[in-house]
Symmetry: C2
Subunit: 198 residues, 2 copies
DNA sequence: CTGTTTTTGTCGGTTTCCCAACAAAAGGTG
DNA sequence: CACCTTTTGTTGGGAAACCGACAAAAACAG
């Protein structure tokens, strides 16, 4: 059994319930102590229905992070379709805040939740990559391989933000965003030249 | 299409959503300005599904009040099955608090929400009646017509509580409960004689 | 009053969800 | 190790929710 239409109200409802259930469980248990069963019971959703939507709990976590980050973005700006330095900066800013809040929840000493963390990080980086790639391909001026640029840019943003949020001395989110933006913009220059050179 | 099993998670979910939707709408609109359509849209439930559960918006309101009152009761005591003066007193007490809170929401001058209020009152009185009747019939000693006693008792409780909550001078809930209980207990004497006479 | 719009109930057809059951894998415990 | 319990995926049948459409009633405007 597989789901076809993500616009069906029942589908949205089920996924939201599973998402909320996982968040609630993460607040009181370790990632490894949470079973698919737990999630389904807490969400009051049948276990078979869970598997109709997600392959396992990792897939749900990935989906949940994606949604949360998307919400965090939409709360800042309404028009993300347009590719502009301002929007790139906002992306970095929200990433910094998002990861700061998340790292704040984790106990540094515990190596228990490494598996969970890495799953989240992979999911987030993919999110960055997809977004940047969409920006690049939506531009009129096309590079030979926009995927490579998108990969480099997304990793530059994600990696730096991750490193800084995990370091002892926390930077202000706005200054951090400015710093990172300054390093990333040169990579994006070919795509932004319309307003610059033209 | 009619619903058969109230234990189905989907049924509970749908009803809860419709209930919450109605509550939200009542907080910002008059009862007469709320359509079935509004409720369904806000609840993100199909309009046809609404009619599968409730005949109209009055039926939903009635159901909602019943549920809220049941919750208010369960929050006080765990074992409502047993028929005892203490539980009768608790029933009165919760009724007083419940109606006080409800009347507080209503604007006295507005005659607009009379229709809504009467619907709620009818629903509540029925609730009292059902509960008292269950108590009486669960007793070993059986009167000829317990329905009549239940009717009289439930109306005595409901009517008095309603009158007092609407009056200017508010009584303390506990003393009010004691006052009413003292008048009601004689009616229930035949059913309580086990511990008294025996 | 007439015409327009909104709301109301209701109806098949389709999709999703629930449920019970199952075998297989994973996790303890002696 | 064997034994037992829990968890995992998967399946088929049935119940509930979605959707679009419809006619009829109600509310409304000119």
């Amino acid at each position: 059994m597989s789901i076809k239409s993500p616009d069906d109200p029942r589908v949205r409802r089920t996924r939201k319930l599973l998402q909320q259930s996982l968040n609630a469980l993460l607040a009181e248990k370790e990632w490894n102590d949470i079973s698919v069963q737990d999630i389904a019971v807490r969400a009051e959703v049948n276990r078979a229905t869970f598997y109709a939507h997600f392959e396992d709990k990792y897939a749900l976590l990935s989906y949940s992070i994606q949604e949360q980050f998307r919400d965090a973005l939409n709360r800042r700006s309404a028009h993300w379709v347009t590719f502009s330095p301002e929007n790139v900066r906002l992306l970095i800013l929200v990433a910094y805040e998002f990861l700061s809040a998340f790292v704040g929840h984790c106990v540094p000493g515990k190596a228990q939740n490494m598996e969970e963390q890495s799953a989240i990080f992979i999911s987030l980086q993919t999110q960055f990559y997809d977004r940047v790639l969409i920006w690049l391909t939506s531009t009129a001026r096309v590079e030979k391989k926009p995927e490579v640029t998108a990969m480099a840019v997304s990793w530059a943003i994600f990696g730096t933000v991750l490193q800084w949020t995990r370091s002892e001395r926390r930077l202000d989110a706005n200054t951090a965003a400015d710093e990172i933006l300054a390093r990333v913009l040169p990579m994006l220059a070919p795509y932004l030249s319309e307003a610059g050179v033209r």
